[in-house]
């Protein structure tokens, strides 16, 4: 009996450590998570997170070169809108993602276009305004 308990305890320990192993490195990724209970997980930016109870996470991970940017090697270009709406998942309020993003050379081309400059500016303003309204409603 004791050996079996030891085996199970060792297995749980190994699995917990296994979740902390580093995943894919230096990639552009976006992630969200809603958790209720005990959770030990690695986010898309490779940070290990331990939570007990309710938790929500939204993460954008954008790779950058190790050295200083120069003409040949610049920080990876990303231009995007990351719009997440979520309510209470236990009463059937859905998770809604609305993302629009350009990466690398496409981001450089888009950034030079005045229509996209106006579009990204306007959408960012809308999202920021909505967020400010939500904070205003929640605070007493």
């Amino acid at each position: 009996m004791r050996n079996r308990e030891d085996f199970v305890a060792r297995a749980v320990l190994i699995l917990v450590i296994g979740t902390m192993l580093p995943g894919c490195a230096n990639t552009l990724a976006f992630g969200t998570a809603t958790k209720f209970g005990l959770d030990i997980s690695q986010r898309v930016d490779q940070m290990v997170e331990i939570s007990l109870g309710y938790d929500r996470v939204e993460v954008a991970s954008i790779p950058a070169p190790e050295g200083d940017p120069n003409q040949a090697e610049d920080t990876y270009a990303v231009l995007g809108i990351f719009d997440v709406k979520y309510g209470n998942p236990w009463i059937d309020q859905p998770l809604i993602l609305n993302q629009f993003f350009a990466t690398g050379w496409a981001a450089r081309q888009v950034a030079q276009d005045p229509r996209f400059q106006e579009f990204f500016g306007r959408r960012s303003g809308e999202i920021t305004g909505r967020r400010t309204e939500e904070i205003g409603r929640k605070s007493p």
Partner: protein, 237 residues
């Protein structure tokens, strides 16, 4: 080193205490009828039988997915859909191997979306069809959009790499792979988006209507301009 070993022993002792051995009452416990004790002794067997009946495994390689065991699923694909979308739901004990490994107990669901690719200046590149088949079922080729149930074996061929994945679990899971690295007990919902490099991507996802997910990607080609007017028109909410 000694301190580290001491911590490990303490953690293992705590796990052992938490897991415990609560299988039935000890003999002669006052106030507990014998028939209750018998039923409780059979409970682990019943749980094992139920787990075996609902257990299964998934094997995913780069382009083929195998599901061995009972799963509910539905899918949608172009030209009707704006991306390749698949939703697979399973109950019980489930193992995963291949590109993503792990073990889960409870209800779990995975929604995977592969984007519809457009080249610069082109109005839309054709996507290779994904083939869903249940060789051991009376309906071997399930139709898109509708829910289906596969009892024994489901195979999906021609799968392209998903760039968006939503995983939801009610129960416990241990998963290791490129979609998630996690150990969790409770309810979890995770999404993961990996946009392609040198591209412009548009994603609209509603968890209450996953089959209408829109995921379009315009790839940048050197020397050719992206169709910015078309993209901007589509990008407006």
């Amino acid at each position: 080193m000694r301190q580290s070993l001491g911590s490990t022993t303490a953690i293992m002792a705590a796990i052992r205490r938490t897991l415990g051995t609560a299988s039935g009452f000890p003999k002669g416990t006052p106030g507990v009828p014998t028939i209750r004790a018998r039923q409780l002794r059979r409970l682990p067997q019943a749980v094992i039988v139920l787990a075996l009946l609902t257990s299964g495994c998934t094997w995913r390689t780069g382009t083929v997915e195998h599901y061995l065991g009972p799963v509910f699923f539905r899918y949608n694909e172009p030209p009707e859909a704006n991306a390749h979308v698949s939703q697979v739901m399973r109950i019980g004990v489930w193992a995963e191997a291949g590109t993503q490994g792990g073990l889960s107990v409870g209800l779990s669901q995975r929604i995977a979306v592969s984007p519809r690719l457009f080249d610069s200046g082109e109005s839309g590149a054709p996507m290779a069809p994904v083939r869903w088949c249940m060789p051991l079922s009376p309906i071997p080729n399930p139709a898109p959009l509708r829910w289906h149930f596969s009892l024994l074996y489901l195979r999906v061929e021609g799968v392209s790499e998903p760039r968006f994945v939503n995983r939801m679990t009610y129960g416990a899971e241990v998963v290791v792979g490129k979609e998630a690295n996690a150990f969790s007990v409770g309810a979890t919902s995770r999404t993961w988006v990996k946009p392609p490099e040198n591209a412009l991507s548009l994603l609209r996802f509603d968890s209450s209507r996953p089959m209408v997910t829109l995921f379009w990607v315009w790839l940048h080609t050197p020397g050719r301009d992206l169709p910015l007017s078309t993209i901007l028109k589509e990008g407006e909410p």
